[in-house]
Amino acid sequence: MLEIKCPYCGKRSQNEFAYGGDATVKRPNLGEEVSTKDWDDFVYYRDNPRGKHTEYWHHVSGCRQWFKASRDTATHEIFNTSSLEEEI
């Protein structure tokens, strides 16, 4: 069981959360010219690291806020969590 620290509610059990994927993926800016390759990279391609991974979580059965977590994909250790605006 993972214990995840919601930046707003504190430590809660994994059961209250939903995963939201790689948080380093950045959508190309609206209104800017974007090549097909850049767009496909954004939609489909991932770094998929073994080790530290920055990712989105959603406290869906709690405060319903999205936030970021830094977690090790090999050990499942969670280093820290932050709000979306903060640097993690």
Partner: protein, 418 residues
Amino acid sequence: MQNYSIFSLVKNAFSNHQDWEVAWKDPEPKKEYDVIIIGGGGHGLATAYYLAKEHGITNVAILEKGWIGGGNVGRNTTILRSNYMFDANAHFYELGMKMWEDLSQELNYNVMYSPRGIINLAHTDGQLNAYARRGNSMRLNGIDAILLNREEVKKMIPFADFSDTCRFPIVGALMQPRGGTARHDAVAWGYARQADSMGVDIIQNCEVTGFDVENGKISGVRTSRGEIKTKKVGLCVAGSTTLLADKLNMRLPIEAHVLQACVSEPVKPLLHNVVTFGAGHFYCSQSDKGEMVMGGDLDGYNSYAQRGNLPMIQHVLSGGLAVFPNFSRLKMLRSWGGIMDMSMDGTPIIDKTHIDGVYLNCGWCYGGFKATPSSGFVFAHTIAKDEPHELNQPFNLDRFHTGNIIDEKGVGPKPWIG
């Protein structure tokens, strides 16, 4: 190579089974090979076997970081099926189904192929309609499929919850009668033994640490047991695909996720088919030992750990109890996890790459085991001919740029949603 038969069994009984030949050798790596296959799992071993058998390429090495068959080929729930709707998947997996039928004879190794039928339960009329559509697509592609009504399903699995008050009533099912199971370890060992007998070197405890690429062309691999020259390298490393692709500066539409399975204590014969629950993630079959072999969904977050977490086991088994309430008294024996190479459209990638002589076999998501023979067959063709077989042409890497993705489940590029 010693042939396995009733006569060899009797003969060796007289010497207390002490004189059996080793099934495969343990050679030192040579300086150079025509083809190197990285990954001694089902797909890697099958690829080496078909390279030797179909294409006469026998100067081949399989490099395995651990021991052969220790990864996903030994961790899956052994299900065989070709119940796909899309043509590309249907044709490819159906080749596999046909190959399973006489694989034991071909390999002279009992893979315990058991076409016991796979039953996908439907719990709403809409779901049954969708299954009817899928079944029609399958039949148009020459694959067996029958639609079962509630009473027909009840005859097959009378102990499922057919009560009036159940939350997910069973309204019918789609069945592929030729679907079934096989003994996963035997598949790895059978391919290994035959590949070895044709001259393939199976090199275990040999981790690939780097690649030598010159002018966009592969010239060798660096391993924990020294450098080995080669002109062609095939990657069959499932969950570790990204880790090796990183060494080739290749970014892929793949995420690693952990998928768990579990077995119960052995009980007397009860469940005679493979059954999938249609209102949640749960599927089950009974092994020849009597254990209920159960699986479900990914744990739901990126992971390279070959172990999962209890909340998902609980979630999967609660789905199981919704359909089979009598399982509540089964004791669980063990659970384990394997790393899935989840591709972003749920379909495998079997293709050449931008590096000359590097070939990719990955993205198997939930379902690599059933494809072991067909994957090995078309991947060997791709490597030997330096062009894809017509059956794996749709599984090209370029589809993520051309838009020809094969999204059978319609999930989108979020594999953890399942």
